[in-house]
């Protein structure tokens, strides 16, 4: 928890009805919802590994059941760590934890990092959270994590990420060229993956925070590319600042998927 309020605001801005579900409410109420977001922040003090304990929580168990029935589930940052620890992504072998989110480690910098990165979506139609993105579109998004490096020991998972498009968001340069180098890949993630989805695309774990980029006002004006330019051009125009930012597309995608 921590990012639930801004995530709720971002969902509402995409025309969705969003409720915050407190951890100790009755889990049977969950089945009445159409989709679920596990927001960023921290859970259970991040003991053992980030997300490891929350992954065993009754809510997550319930959500896992609903994922099996095709309901869309998005985990953002700590929520992504929970989905990975719960084995919901990539989910090639049901019930198995096939990946981990390791501590950030690159030649340029290790440890916690809060910054903006560029991500590229190559095959938007594959997931419930990218279907409103243009193919090949570059979205600048903020990250803020210490453990965001997607890792696996399974060659099958590596193959699925590379060949089946199960890494829907890839870290890239401002021009969209995918790169493994710091600072473009900020944490050393496998295959430059910023997100990993399930094969059917209804479950996705992403490290960047789209809810912190849901409005143009939130985009830094020094960002390269069209979004930075849009921000600079909107200076002095409050109405334009309150228009959608790059992160809104994730929530717009969900809205489109549900309707």
């Amino acid at each position: 928890m921590n990012c639930e309020y801004e995530t709720q605001r971002a969902l509402i801005s995409s025309g969705l009805d969003a409720r915050i579900f407190r951890w100790n409410l009755d889990v049977s109420e969950l089945s009445g919802f159409d989709a679920f977001i596990l927001p960023g922040g921290f859970s259970y003090q991040d003991r053992i590994r980030a997300g490891a304990i929350a992954a065993k929580d009754a809510i997550v168990e319930e959500i896992a059941g609903l994922a099996g029935r095709g309901k869309p589930i998005l985990g953002i940052c700590n929520g992504a760590q929970v989905l990975v620890e719960a084995g919901l992504v990539p989910g090639l072998s049901p019930g198995q934890v096939e990946m981990a989110l390791g501590p950030n480690r690159t030649d340029g910098r290790s440890g916690y990092l809060c910054t903006w990165v560029h991500t590229r979506v190559s095959e938007p139609h594959r997931t419930a959270f990218t279907c409103a993105v243009e193919p090949g579109e570059v979205l600048p998004l903020p990250i803020a994590h210490a453990e965001g490096r997607f890792l696996t020991l399974s060659s099958e998972v590596v193959r699925a990420l590379r060949e089946e498009g199960m890494a829907p968001f890839l870290y890239c340069k401002p021009d969209g060229v995918v790169s493994d180098e710091y600072p473009w890949n900020p944490n050393g993630s496998l295959s430059s993956a910023a997100a990993v989805s399930s094969r059917s695309g209804n479950v996705m774990a992403m490290m960047p925070h789209p809810e912190r980029a849901a409005w143009l006002s939130q985009v830094p004006d020094r960002i390269e590319g069209p979004w930075g330019r849009a921000k600079r051009e909107a200076k002095g125009n409050l109405l334009r600042m309150k228009e959608a930012g790059p992160g809104r597309k994730i929530f717009d995608s969900l809205k489109r998927f549900l309707s």
Binding site: E6, G41, L113, C114, T115, R212, S217, R232, G236
Partner: protein, 790 residues
């Protein structure tokens, strides 16, 4: 005060009829830092020997940290604290000013600022983390939601004699800030970081928290006066009490002695941001209940002095009393003595005074709805006592009254007169030639601890959480956020204070800290509306230190009055909160540099107008505001090139400074400024370099120092720290810009242009002084601070 008795079996501290030596021995045996005259004064007040619990309470309440016994008189004398926009000035946990009206609802801004220096030196991680933990509680308990924090950090010389310890402290502090602050989910908008050898044995960790609350929902620390007539319960919420932080306030009111570090460690509290976050949510729920019933409550955080300080201040403020049963306090360790229970500074606790008609609902919110006992072993909300109408503060333990004193006597404090002797400064101005190769000197300069990019530190802070951030730390001189959903209002915040200025002149050190904080806020286009200050000094018992303290206050007060609020001539930018931290010195007995750290809070009606420091377009014009004068005393140039301080410290020319600040705000509001950065430590050349290095594209600058009037040698023009601004203006706006400047009596100097290639060019006429690739500069500048922290 009235005489009030103790139960006969209660152990007392003997003061009456014994010698000074025996009193001292008695105080020492209880580990108290009260002086013998203070103990005798306590006897006069009580008209009897105090119990051990009472002596411990007064030890804390009369510490410099809680009582401001040396400083109060001077703070009142010099600092302007009133203005029409102030809703609550200094005195409670936080200050409050008007923010905006949105959809018929009036919002206010709550700010708090304090130090956590000694704990951070002893246990850097926990100390710095608890600093954030404490300051956010100060804002929460005004009924506000905390939306941003900032840290102003001062560390020793990372390459000096004590470098290993300095680096360990610096890394630990940064770690504590990010690990606690990020987990709490409050955006950190940066602040500032300075290195100076005077902090080798005593770092400074100042923390600032900012919150937002609807004006009608502001909660006060004081118990409502209704509590004299109706039944009010005192409720303690949060972590079970342990011995951590016992004596923390007294610890902050004495010199650090490394021999005692083992003992001092127990005076550092243990923070838990995860529990704090749940508490914050439960508090919101509790406040919703209170507001829906139209009830009044008292709400206060437990900081220095623990239960004793919080509850006595709550009731004394309304002339009321309390009876508290210490056996009701949930304990982490059942063997704790009553002195420890009542004064421990265990973190993550709040005290509430609520009408007994809602007590059971309040307890249910914390204990059942938010399940505190499940979240954290032993945490809960419990009734520990009642508010009473007789004004007496009574503590019960084991069936006896271990404290029975009029509440006002506990909180009214004491004052001491300190001797003040002018501190002689023997610095002189150096005679020297400029570096042979300015370019290679600049490359070295950019790596130095105080000139290099702060991003290696700021990138550990989550500046995005909450989704309200508009301008991030390092992108401009101030952080900007949008505090009210749906409204266009922006808040800008910055914190400043350059230690080397205060070493040469404490008066100008104080004035410059205020001026720079205001300039920083103006640079994004916001209007300064309030200030806070944390005054970090050595021992007030040293006359030269006390002189520095008084001079600094004069400088702060004069500047806050002279650069009055834009649009309100003569109305000062009020100092609404702050704190005094004395005894900042190490084993060697050397006090830290006089270190006022001033934060400025600025408002803008439309945050979409905010500008950053990065260059925007090739062909833009670069204007300088502010004369370059022979003011390199305390400059980074003297320190890096000559390893000396110099004498000619920058001065604030109040009228010119005010005109420039107000002009910049107006020009940005008018949309005629593309980027803006102030001139301070590092001078004009660092300002230009930072504007260039901050821009992402392939932009550079070409400027000519001959354009700058005055007889100064070129290197001094570049590195003088006389205050000023550099502004980028599109050629299409030049005419408007010059006309607006004329109206404000400001004379801008056209320095040069923004170029379309990533090169940094500084000329004197046709003679090149500096010609560097921005890529090379950026690589060095961005790495510099990492070298100092590792």
């Amino acid at each position: 005060m009235r005489e009030s008795s103790l139960d006969s079996e209660v152990k007392t501290l003997r003061i009456e009829g014994v010698s000074d030596e025996e009193v001292r021995a008695g105080l020492d045996s209880l580990g108290l830092r009260l002086t013998v005259p203070e103990a005798r004064r306590l006897f006069e007040l009580l008209k009897r020997n105090p119990s051990r619990v009472e002596a411990t309470i007064f030890d804390i309440m009369w510490s410099e940290h809680c009582s401001y016994k040396s400083s109060k008189r001077l703070l009142q004398k010099y600092l302007p604290t009133e203005a029409p926009n102030v809703l609550l000035g200094p005195g409670e946990d936080a200050g409050i000013i008007e923010l905006c009206t949105h959809e018929g609802e009036r919002y206010s801004l709550v700010v708090a600022h304090e130090s956590h220096n000694h704990p951070s030196q002893v246990l850097p991680f926990e100390g710095a983390a608890t600093g954030i933990g404490g300051i956010v509680r100060d804002v929460y308990c005004m009924g506000a939601d905390v939306v941003a924090v900032m840290d102003a950090l001062r560390f020793g010389d990372p390459d000096g004699a004590n470098k290993n310890k300095v680096r360990e402290v610096a890394s630990g502090v940064v770690s504590g800030i990010w690990q606690y602050g990020n987990a709490l989910g409050v955006a950190n908008l940066g602040g500032d970081v300075h290195f100076d050898s005077s902090y080798d044995e005593n770092c400074l960790v100042n923390v600032i928290a900012i919150g937002v609350v609807k004006e009608g929902e502001i909660e006060r620390s004081a118990v409502p006066e209704e509590a004299g007539m109706e039944d009010y319960d005192l409720v303690l919420v949060g972590k079970p009490t342990d011995a951590s932080g016992f004596g923390g306030a007294s610890f902050a009111s004495d010199v650090l002695d490394s021999q005692e570090w083992g003992e001092s460690r127990s005076a550092v509290q243990v923070p838990d941001p995860f529990l704090k976050r749940i508490l914050a949510e439960a508090n919101k729920r509790m406040l919703t209940l209170v507001h829906s019933r139209g009830l009044k409550i008292g709400f206060k955080d437990l900081g220095a002095g623990g239960i004793a300080c919080a509850t006595s201040e709550m009731v004394a403020a309304s002339g009321l009393g309390a009876t508290i049963d210490l056996e009701k306090v949930p304990l982490d360790d059942p063997s704790l003595s009553p002195e420890v229970i009542v004064c421990s500074e265990t973190q993550e606790r709040f005290a509430l005074a609520v009408p007994s008609s809602i007590t059971s609902q309040v307890l249910r919110i914390y204990n059942e709805e938010y399940e505190l006992p499940f979240i954290y072993h032993g945490a809960r909300a419990v009734v520990i006592g009642k508010v009473t109408g007789d004004g007496n503060y009574v503590l019960q333990w084991g069936g006896s009254r271990v404290c029975n004193v009029e509440a006002r006597t506990i909180t009214s404090g004491i004052s001491v007169e300190r001797r003040s002797v002018e501190a002689q400064v023997s610095e002189t101005e150096p005679e020297f030639s400029p570096p042979q190769n300015m370019g290679s000197f600049l490359l070295e300069f950019l790596v130095s601890p105080n000139a290099s990019s702060r991003r290696p530190v700021f990138s550990f802070y989550d500046c995005e959480v909450g989704g309200r951030t508009v301008v991030r730390p390092g992108d401009a001189d101030a952080g900007v956020f949008a505090p009210v959903d749906g409204s266009g209002v922006g808040v800008a915040v910055a914190a400043d204070g350059v230690p080397s200025y205060g070493k040469i002149s404490p008066y100008w050190g104080g004035a410059l800290a205020v001026a720079e904080a205001m300039r920083n806020v103006a640079c994004v286009g916001a209007t300064p509306r309030a200030l806070s200050d944390c005054l970090n000094f050595g021992s007030p018992e040293v006359p030269e230190v006390f002189y520095q303290f008084e001079e600094t206050l004069k400088g702060i007060g004069d500047c806050a009055r002279a650069i009055w609020q834009k649009g309100l001539p003569g109305v000062p930018v009020p100092i609404v909160t702050g704190n005094v931290s004395f005894y900042n010195e190490g084993d060697s007995g050397r006090a830290v540099a006089p270190s006022p750290i001033v934060a400025c809070f600025g408002l803008m009606e439309d945050y979409s107008k905010a500008v950053t420091m990065s260059l925007k377009e090739s062909g833009s014009l670069l204007f300088l505001l502010g004369a370059r004068l022979n003011e390199l005393g305390g400059s980074l140039y003297f320190q890096e090139l000559l390893n000396c301080l110099g004498k000619n410290v920058p001065r604030v020319r109040f009228d010119e400074e005010r005109s420039a600040v107000h002009f910049v705000i107006e020009a940005i509001d008018g949309g005629i400024v593309a980027s803006c950065h102030d001139i301070s430590a590092g001078g004009l050349v660092l300002t230009l370099a930072e504007m260039s290095m901050a821009s992402a594209g392939s932009l550079g600058v070409d400027v000519d120092v001959l354009a700058i009037d005055g007889p100064l040698r070129y290197d001094k023009k570049l590195f003088s720290e006389s205050s000023g601004f550099v502004l980028e203006v599109f050629p299409s706006e030049e005419e408007k810009f010059r006309a607006a400047a004329g109206q404000h009596n400001v004379r801008p100097t056209l320095l040069g242009v923004v170029t379309g290639e990533p090169a940094f060019r500084v000329r004197e006429g046709s003679r090149p002084l500096i010609e560097l690739s921005l890529g090379e500069m950026r690589a060095r500048w961005e790495k510099g601070l990492e070298n100092s922290l590792a």
